[in-house]
């Protein structure tokens, strides 16, 4: 059983220069633990700091203070420590159109991390690993997809390649920053189900960052609600959604469209206007 733990994470950005210098605290004292085989959802509006948490966890940003612990050991900032850390923790980005290189084939995208992280050596072993990765993300027949370039695939297929690439170094934890928000609705569930299957069958720990409360509820064990850099509410996913405590969580929930409440907004507005006229 592995754990990825974040303790008192703070990330500040410097703004301006000279006399107009100021600091923006994007993440303010955030702590949580991601366990193997579990999914934690991080929800909040744009600018709430959820992507900064993701980028810091993937060590694309250096924390201002606080600790990241992998299996109970603190991760230092040295090159070798970061390289080792990235064997285990990988990121899936929001935009599968921007995160794959249009000049390279799918095979190239998967072979590079396999070689760089020393997972496979020799042409045959690399090819075999590549095929296995594609099968794990349901891109079959693997030979066909391996030869494709990003523009020959749909958004959902590209995101599957991005997931396979994240798995290539042997990652045990995935940080998925809005992995389906750029995809068509009918494809979203397929990609989320893939992440859920990997989490279940391969004991993957997933940090699922989203602003979609409905999928956060259904695809995660625990939900953290972020607002202005702080976690304002956390708990088992059903509890947070069905019995929200914090005002901000309630606002988010009230704003989320729900198909079961069709006609709600129209009727509310009519009632309001009728009230104003009276």
């Amino acid at each position: 059983m592995g754990t990825l733990e974040v303790r008192n994470l703070v990330k500040e950005f410097r703004l301006g220069h000279g006399l107009r210098r100021s600091r923006l605290r994007a993440v303010d004292d955030v702590s949580f633990t991601l366990e193997a085989g579990k999914t934690v959802a991080l929800v909040g509006e744009s600018g709430s700091g959820k992507s900064t948490v993701a980028r810091t966890l993937a060590r694309l940003e250096t924390p201002t203070s606080g600790e990241i612990m992998l299996d109970g050991r603190s991760v230092s900032g040295s090159r070798s420590a970061l390289r080792a850390y990235r064997h285990d923790v990988q990121m899936v980005f929001q935009d599968p159109f921007a995160s794959l290189n249009p000049f390279h084939t799918v095979a190239h995208h998967l072979e590079r991390p396999l070689q760089l992280h020393g997972v496979a050596r020799g042409r045959d072993a690399v090819a075999e690993h590549t095929r296995a990765l594609l099968e794990r993300v349901s891109l079959t027949p693997a030979e066909v997809y391996a030869a494709k370039r990003p523009h020959e695939m749909s958004g959902g297929q590209r995101q599957r390649v991005a997931i396979a690439r994240a798995l290539a170094p042997g990652a045990r934890f995935l940080v998925a920053d809005e992995p389906v928000s750029m995809l068509d609705v009918s494809i979203r569930l397929g990609v989320l189900n893939l992440l859920a299957r990997l989490q279940r069958e391969e004991n993957l720990g997933v940090l699922y960052i989203t602003h979609d409360l409905a999928t956060a509820r259904h695809f995660s064990d625990e939900i953290l609600v972020m607002y202005r850099g702080e976690v304002v509410e956390r708990g088992p996913s059903d509890q947070v959604i069905l019995d929200p405590q914090h005002d901000y969580t309630k606002t988010l929930l009230a704003a989320a469209p729900d198909p079961a409440r069709h006609g709600r907004l129209r009727d509310e507005v009519r009632a309001e206007l009728a009230g104003e006229r009276a």
């Binding site: 349901s138 749909s154 959902g156 297929q157 009918s186 509820r217 469209p257 309001e272 206007l273």
Partner: protein, 316 residues
């Protein structure tokens, strides 16, 4: 009560590329005065192309190959939109039917102020208005959409995404159009901001009585705001009914599949969730290739996305 304001009969639109893409196929639709008509469907189903056809905004290689679009003016007779030309077309656009474009956040001109952009609409279409009248109208418009009129002298980059979107809606309202076509007007926005803007649109609709064609792939959102919803698949409207019927009694397999793509926020945790059981069922009912980006120049049909995964998940 149900007086038509815009009607399309047998509209077909092709992209004259090689091979020819039939983006809209024989679509007939009547928009009633003051109603909100939702147009749902995924990328590449032809919904934006159809909207452009309604407003004569199609650009080569897109061609309206058959069908007619009639605008039933509040005063005066019917206008054959497809036959409009030159000055008549220029006068028709924006005045009768205005549009809030997809990615409206980036449709404002970055090098002139909000005031100059609203002014441009008014000087073009209402040459009789004095400078003072135009200034008054511009301030009034921003007030209507809930933006401080002090922002008239701002440039686009000085406004937040939600404010830019509101300014776009103000511009679409400028000439009191009878129809507003909104193409994914809130997609890039946060849920909280999105809700504020939708609320504003609904209020303005009640106040001014314009009809709205609201285009999005977000079916739960459409269910909340629309009077009727048309579901589009591969260039055709496969189902058109009231929001209530679409939700309670969907007839077409594709409508059911779209509905199942959205887990309910507070309802039961459906069987499809994480086990993928219901998604597997819904995967059997949809038309082949319907989940592909079937737009012009797009990728070949996507077989892996729904089919492969749902079978695997279904057996799990």
């Amino acid at each position: 009560m149900t007086v038509p304001v815009l009607s399309a009969k047998g509209v077909s639109i092709e992209y004259r590329t090689t091979p020819v893409v039939r983006a809209v196929r024989d679509v007939s639709l009547t928009l009633h005065r003051g109603e909100i008509l939702g147009l749902a469907g995924e990328s590449g189903c032809g919904k934006t192309t159809f909207a452009y056809g309604l407003t004569r905004l199609l650009k080569s290689p897109a061609v309206l190959t058959s069908g007619e679009v009639l605008f039933h003016d509040r005063v005066g007779g019917d206008v054959d939109v497809a036959a409009l030309d030159g000055e008549a077309l220029r006068a028709f656009r924006w005045d009768k039917v205005s549009m809030v474009f997809q990615g409206a956040m980036n449709s404002l001109n970055p090098v002139i102020t909000v005031r100059a952009q609203i002014d441009d609409v008014l000087t073009t279409h209402r040459p009789g208005m004095s400078r003072a009248e135009r200034a008054g109208r511009a301030a009034e418009l921003l007030g209507l959409v809930g933006v401080d009129p002090a922002r008239l002298d701002s440039y686009a980059h000085q406004l937040s995404g939600g404010m830019r979107q509101r300014v776009m809606i103000a511009m679409a309202l400028a000439l009191n159009p009878q129809v507003m076509i909104m193409d994914e007007p809130t997609t890039a926005l946060d849920v909280v901001v999105q809700r504020g803007i939708l609320r504003e649109i609904m209020r303005l609709r009640e106040q001014f009585g314009f009809a709205v064609v609201f285009i999005t792939h977000d079916l739960p959102l459409l269910l909340e705001i629309s009077d009727r919803i048309a579901v589009m698949l591969e260039g055709e409207i496969v189902e058109l009914d009231t929001a209530e019927n679409i939700y309670e009694r969907p007839q077409h397999a594709y409508t059911r599949r779209l509905l199942e793509s959205f887990p309910s926020l507070v309802g039961e945790r459906g069987g499809f969730v994480r086990s993928g059981a219901a998604a597997g069922e819904s995967g059997t009912g949809h038309a082949p290739g319907s989940d592909a980006d079937a737009g012009p120049g797009a990728a070949p049909a996507d077989s892996a996305d729904s089919a492969a995964d749902t079978t695997i998940e279904g057996t799990a």
